[in-house]
Amino acid sequence: MDASSISPTLLIASLIVASTPIMLAAIGELVVERAGVLNLGVEGMMITGAICGFIVAYETGSPTYGVIASILGGAALSLIFAILTQFFLANQVASGLALTLFGLGFSALIGKGYTGITPPDLSSPNLGFLTEIPFLGTMLFKHDYLVYLAVAVVLLVSIFLRYTRQGLILRAVGEDHSSAHALGYKVIRVRVLAILFGGGCAGLGGAYISLIRVPQWAEGMTHGAGWIALAIVVFASWKPLRILFGAWLFGGLTVLQLNLQAAGVTKINLILFEIPLQVQYLTMAPYLITILVLVLMSARALSNAPGSLGKSFHVSS
């Protein structure tokens, strides 16, 4: 068997599906970090969204309600983080980790009776003739609503941050919260709203996994997707459009690894020498590439990290 049995169109189609949850979580976290807050609780918010969406979708029979519930669930969990870090001025790193831990435990608890059930199917938009296009049809136009929604969210965030006044305020708050406050901007309010947005997006990403991709509920089913989303934000240098590439890269490597295994490809022939492809090396690759990108970006004198990232804002009156 060789790599020729891998169909590029199907591979890219799978890649797009695999990248959607992390894309959603990453764009949410990007907004949060641009506002100057580092929320490490993405994993907890994703899994909470996954179980909330699953339970509501299953109980009401409507996947749409499930999707809405997942956004609310993720946002509700992030509200705890918002209160802790913005009002109680708690350490952001610790708060985020506590959020992840609590989210994982809490979701497993309420999800107890829901293992082994198939949720109602979320229908895909029928894009008619677009799906008939050779290659591009299967690659791009046969997906479900959330795939397109994810890309739309990324584009909207990009426009928001760059061209709207509110986006400017958010960026200002993230760069230098003291100056923003002096200018009269409500730092705390902006940050809380950003955190809630991040929570909602992460919850939606989680619901994608439990309602569409698998679709089933299992404890801890996000398997570190939240941490990957954090890496994607840095990989994208906090620029929204680059989130697309980051998500595709990570999603793609996971899918590629499975496809290579299925096709029985175990080595890459590079004329002079062979690289053996063990499953574990392929699985490692996205993380190593992220580190490489991190190094390359920080090596350049300009770092794009928001100036106030991770610092608590407190008005001393």
Binding site: M1, S5, I6, S7, L10, L11, A13, S14, A18, G113, T115, G116, T118, I209, R213, V214, P215, Q216, A218, E219, M221, H223, T254, V255, L258, N259, Q261, A262, A263, G264, T266, V279
Partner: protein, 369 residues
């Protein structure tokens, strides 16, 4: 009344008779209260009973014990116990709290079960799918490969693309031998069948299992089987309009149009047997039970979603395996590298099955290392 010797002897006799009767009654009563104390049976699960796969079937075994013995037996269980020191603690807890018989239902509990068994010589342990035993530790497993072979036969007949795929968990002998027998079954019906294998390195992870199945479907395969515990690969097959096999339990509710059949682990006969042995006092360690399809220990879900001629051939092969006239691992059999493993007419013994670490000839996938 004058106390004569005769009268004293009479009183003495009545008193001693009374005492004897009383003692007898007391012994009888305490005897019945002793036997009325239920036998405590504990289960250590690797996953949740809600996995609708491996643990689910063990839990059914546990429930069947309760149904069969009623008040005479009390069962408890602990789920999601990770293999390692936490398992030692969980098993020890059960032993400390008065359990008479403990079932540890995963290979990875082997060393831990033995370690605890050494400390509690009066407690009896049953370990699933391992190989180490002791005076108070028995082994048990099922010949699941028998069902798997029939599945291979069906797969060979049902595939239109000649690509059949396998979502595999860990490269351990029990998984390898099932891959081999599956392939052998397919090859008897379809010499052109090609086997794709993806290793997910987990027993239960619906997300990974679904992804693996999808990747193989994208690569052209149209019949899916798995050695992992969730219905995810089958659901993925159903979504793609393809067919496949359930694992460990009948997963038709998840994939009514996709499931051709599936292996059903039936632990209940063995479990009831062993609990009875504990009650009767005849339980012995060093057991190496290997449940056979003919005993009903290995079941198969009703054949469905296949044309009649396929069903007939499959039933025929199944009947031959059940009555012992056919065994897939019969020589001449070569492995992937061409080495002859079984001579003409030779049949694989338990040792070879338990230590199988090679693919049969014809499988083109590389053996994981």
């Amino acid at each position: 009344m004058i106390l004569t010797k005769g009268r004293i002897m009479k009183v003495f006799k009545i008193l001693s008779l009374g005492m004897a009767l009383l003692t007898g009654i007391i012994i009888a009563i305490s005897g019945t209260t002793v036997t009325a104390e239920p036998v405590k049976v504990g289960f250590i699960y690797i996953g949740p009973p809600g996995d609708h796969g491996w643990t689910y079937r063990h839990d059914i075994g546990r429930k069947d014990i309760e149904a069969h013995f009623g008040d005479a037996v009390e069962t408890t269980f602990q789920e999601n116990v990770p293999e390692g020191p936490d398992a030692v603690r969980a098993i020890t807890q059960m032993a400390l709290s008065g359990h008479d018989l403990i079932f540890t239902t995963s290979y990875g509990y082997m060393d831990q079960t033995l370690a605890v068994a050494k400390k509690f010589p009066n407690v009896k342990f049953e370990h699933a799918t391992g190989w180490k035993t002791a005076d108070n530790v028995s082994n048990y497993g099922l010949k699941l490969y028998q069902s798997r072979h029939v599945q291979g036969v069906i797969a060979g007949l049902m595939t239109k693309t000649n690509k059949i795929c396998y979502v595999a968990s860990f490269p351990i002998p029990e998984v390898i031998r099932e891959i081999n027998t599956f392939y052998l079954g397919a090859k008897t019906q379809n010499p052109n069948a090609e086997l794709q294998i993806v290793w997910v390195y987990t027993w239960y992870d619906p997300g990974k299992e679904a992804d693996a199945a999808q990747a193989m479907i994208d690569n052209g395969c149209d019949v899916i089987t798995q050695h992992t515990d969730s219905p995810a690969p089958l659901v993925t097959a159903e979504k793609a309009g393809l067919v496949g096999f359930g694992q460990a339990s009948d997963q038709t509710p998840f994939a009514p149009n996709a499931q051709l059949t599936g292996t059903i682990d039936n632990w209940s006969p063995y479990y009831i047997d062993r609990v009875q042995a504990v009650i009767d006092g005849t339980w012995e360690g060093h057991g190496t039970y290997f449940g056979d399809i003919s005993e009903g220990a290995v079941g198969m879900a009703p054949f469905a979603n296949m044309p009649q001629n396929v069903m007939d051939i499959a039933m025929d092969v199944r009947a031959k395996i059940t009555n012992g006239t056919y065994f897939a691992f019969t020589g001449p059999l070569k492995d992937q590298s061409g080495t002859l493993r079984l001579k003409d007419g030779e049949v694989a013994d338990r040792a070879m099955l338990d230590t199988m670490d090679w693919y049969v000839e014809g499988i083109t996938a590389k053996y994981p290392d």
